[in-house]
Amino acid sequence: MAFFKKAEKSGASEKARTMSQDAKKAKRSSQARSLDRKKFFGDPIMVGAIIFLVIFMVLFVVYPIAMLLADSVTAEGRMASVNAYYKENVAGRVNDYNYEKNDVARLELIKNRLKDTYDASLQAAKARGAEKPREEPEVKVLRDVYNNANAEYKDANSAYKKAVTGAESASKGSILEFIVQMFKTLPRSEAWTHSRAALKLYFSSDNQRVSVSAFTSLTTDFGFKDAFKNTLVIGLLTGFGSLAIGFLFAYVDCYVRVKNRVMKKLFDVVSLLPVVSPPFVLSLSMMLLFGRSGLITREILGIFDNDIYGVKGIVIVQTLTFFPVCYLMLKGLLNNIDPSMEEAARDMGASRWKVFTTVTLPLMLPGLGNAFLVTFIESVADFANPMIIGGSTDTLATAIFLRITGGTYDTHGAAAMAVVLLLITFILFMVQKYVLEARSAATLTGKASRGRMLIEDKSVTTPLSILCMGVSIFVILMYICIPFGSLFKLWGMDYSLSLVHYKDMFAESGMKAFKDSFILSIIAAPVTALFSMVISYLVVKKKFKAKGFIEFTSMIAMAVPGTVLGVGFIRGFANGILRTGFMQGIYGTGLILIIVFVVRSLPVGTRSGISALRQIDKSIEESAYDLGAGSGKVFTSVTLPLIKDSFFSGIVTTFVRSITAISAVILLVTPKYLLITCRINEYAEKGSFGIACAYATILIAIVYASILIMNLVIKYFGTSRAVREAQKNEQ
């Protein structure tokens, strides 16, 4: 059989060989491409997953942000001319066509003819001697015509009025709204001409008035100026502060011999805290300890009007919140420095300090820059801390929130601010991701060849350990403060224990808050984990066109502050997609909150999924594929079980991030849903610290419990369990 085919085929390829070289090349590459395409599309599960993800990303990441950008540049300036055009051409159409006049005249005409005919038939009937005239066919027809004309006229009239008013209101919004409105209400051909004309006007070169009016109005806005300045100042200070403390911790951990076991444990606890703590816990305890009625400032130091609100409060709290992030990043880098480099310097006569400044520090420089930027971004994007401890000091994130909630519902101004905030984080993120991250990895490649000689010199170890100890104890103290805050009757006045705050909490629908938060987060968790595993699988293992897009958008969500995403969702979905009313239904529902949770946690899950997947040999999946499993089956039977641990921790991480999230959801939540974090914010704002602490205490308990459960699940159902057990049996 093969021989038969061979003969037939080689004839064909003989012909092919006579083709010109170029044509042959083109044909060759196109065959492989079309085959790959055919194979690719022969796999409906994967194609479906990709299409779904692309739609999801476009709709819930790209679109809201695009909407923000569009809004902020399409401001009144350019719209003014569109508005003028509207008044001149569209609104004027009322007089030109004058539906009313024409139609009234036409109706009159028909009515008169109807009357005439009717009279005529009446006459005829009388002449015939009948009492009532017969319904003449002509009368019937005329009546129908009249009725139809009347209805038509009414419809047209109301539609037109709707169009006119719609267009008029839209002409004050964005060009996009204007066009959508045109198409929604006017006949298509007219909508086309008007839209084209409007667009032309909108982008015409002499229309220089412009475009960034929302921004120009921002520049004269003192609230914005202050917020902008505060954001950057706080970001810088927090960045440097976290970097310093984080580096200190990392250095002590990697270079200094710490005999004390407790110290090592403290390090672990402190590095875990920011992951598990709700966002404003530190702010709350900061106020409890150092505020106007603070335990330390008032009771111990006797200062009555200590002001920790404002920039310095925010910086302290953020530094304490974010330095563990620096610590973990820098620890990894320090461990990668080959000790022999430092030993070489030491061997050539450099003092320990000299080694530190000439070898260790320069090697760490890109890594330090990287860690600095990461905390800078975190600080700039942080909403909860400035909200609670900022007092009258606003950062961009809180200013945006206040724009929207502060009575004016100025989403337009909020959008412009959100764009500024987005630009800051986006630029920092790009620098961090594509310049520093690569460079810091490049200078420190590979693992240390062997253990490092730790510093035992007491004159170095003692001060460093005391410093670290001090910071750790302080941080832990601040966390402990929260449950106490919930148990004391009235902080600052009456330090007797009582459960009154818990009682109040549950009396004021506390249960509902827990239920809502819990349910929404528990739905978001597995969805996000699954999405991020599928995304990382596609990114690591497959080749397809939309890969770059999916990878980029899932990462970029990391650079988008929650507040910005919140405003984007408001602008994007409050009136439906593109303000057409389509999908408006999801706005204000639990679904949109879940979607926000998913989008916010996706980058973290994807990143861990990607690193887990990179460790799996490609041929393991290929062998399953080769044995007859389709791509869906390969994923569920081989890939997923191998990254189970990462999957479980993805679920829990998302759950924790969601239940403690506030920045984006606080803008989108409706009274239908109560969220724990929003309640804490509310009570803290009101000054009811007791109830805020009660909420926070239970929230911390929930978060801790879920992490414990995760560890148990991984222990008993994780990837390695069966393997471990089998090994035990062997022994």
């Binding site: 194979k39 290929e622 080769d626 044995l627 079980p641 069966a722 089998a726």
Partner: protein, 359 residues
């Protein structure tokens, strides 16, 4: 074994990669045509980067050919994904599923085919017995030695009774002794099943010992296809001769053909060589290939030479000698009781026409 043996026919396939830096096209596989008979054991042999693995992966379906068509059992399979092709591959890294025990690993292919459970377990146990892994079914892959893992991989590939079995350098992660043992095992099992096998390796002794046919590839093209014997004694070109075993070449000019012999002149001496399959005309320039073990160093002989290196290697005496033309390598096996030539001594190369090959 109830599955049908399938042949593989590869018709003028190409695989072109674009070098991302230079933007130049690189022909990983360049116009390769192969006809692999059902039930035969064929090895793709070549240096790294010669396109052998790419060819194998195209047969499995992991890569698509840029031109040409692949037929498995007479059916064109270009448009089929790997899971729809009747092939099973044994990977270099074994690619066992670390989260499954040995039983589940082997049973994987059958479960996909929805074979009833009792049948699965019966077949898995039979298969484990066949590959010598009875009683290991509850272990995990990291509790097995390299050789055992290799057998699990083989069992897993065989159990679904594929039409064609593919091996991608399956023994390269094993130590030398185990490699020799496993290759005889693979050959034994392949013979027992009578399954078509395509085997990729860069180890020539592996290829020689295991195959019915060897395909030598170089730079994306097939350099020669034939039985191990053919390839060793009658290499098609200098590359093949050099790649398989060691070879000496002499530039020779054909003088005339005499029956089964050809009279050639090389190093200023006329001598007879075996007549090759292809036609040679007098006056043509050709290469004479001599294997080191096919030459004797003697006081009297055909081509005069001078000893450059004389070295006792245990089972043989190694010589490098300078002829008028090139340096020639000679291995004198089991040299006990024969004269050993020292460096700088004058001697002659002596050989029979049957030990020569004119290329």
């Amino acid at each position: 074994m109830n599955s049908e043996k399938k042949g593989v026919f590869i018709d003028h396939i190409y695989k072109i990669y674009l070098d991302p830096k230079t933007k130049k096209e690189f022909y990983a596989v360049n116009d390769v045509t192969l006809d692999i008979k059902p039930g035969s054991f064929v090895t793709l042999l070549g240096p790294s980067g010669c396109g052998k693995t790419t060819t194998l992966r195209m047969i499995a379906g992991f890569e698509s050919p840029d031109a040409g068509e692949i037929y498995i059992g007479g059916e064109p399979v270009n448009a089929l994904t790997p899971n729809k092709r009747d092939t099973a591959m044994v990977f270099q890294s074994y690619a066992l599923f670390p989260h499954m025990n040995i039983f589940d690993n082997v049973a994987y292919g059958l479960k996909l085919r929805k074979v009833p459970k009792p049948e699965i377990s019966a077949r898995v146990f039979d298969m484990l017995k066949l590959v010598g892994l009875e009683g290991m079914e509850n272990r995990y892959t990291n509790q097995l030695s390299g050789g055992q893992q290799q057998r699990v991989a083989l069992a897993r590939a065989l159990i679904a009774e594929p039409g064609v079995l593919l091996f991608d350098e399956p023994l390269s992660n094993l130590d030398a002794k185990l490699r020799v043992y496993m290759r005889t095992e693979i050959r034994r099992i392949q013979q027992q099943f009578g399954i078509t096998a395509i085997y990729v390796t860069h180890d020539q002794s592996e290829a020689m010992s295991i195959s019915d046919n060897i395909i030598i590839m170089n730079k994306g093209v097939v350099a020669q296809m034939g039985t191990p014997r053919d390839i060793y004694y009658r290499p098609a070109n200098e590359f093949v001769a050099d790649f398989i075993g060691e070879a000496n070449f002499l530039d020779a000019e054909v003088e005339r053909t005499e029956g089964e012999l050809v009279r050639v002149k090389a190093c200023g001496v006329s001598f007879n060589v075996a007549r090759p399959e292809k036609n040679v005309e007098s006056g043509e320039k050709h290469l004479v290939m001599l294997r080191p073990e096919g030459i004797r160093l003697a006081e009297k002989g055909i081509i005069p030479c001078k000893v450059l290196l004389s070295c006792f290697m245990g089972s043989y005496q190694l010589y490098h000698v300078q002829t008028a033309d090139r340096v020639v390598k000679i291995t004198d096996n089991h040299p006990v009781g024969r004269r050993v030539f020292e460096v700088d001594e004058e001697a002659f190369l002596d050989f029979d026409p049957i030990d020569t090959h004119l290329m």
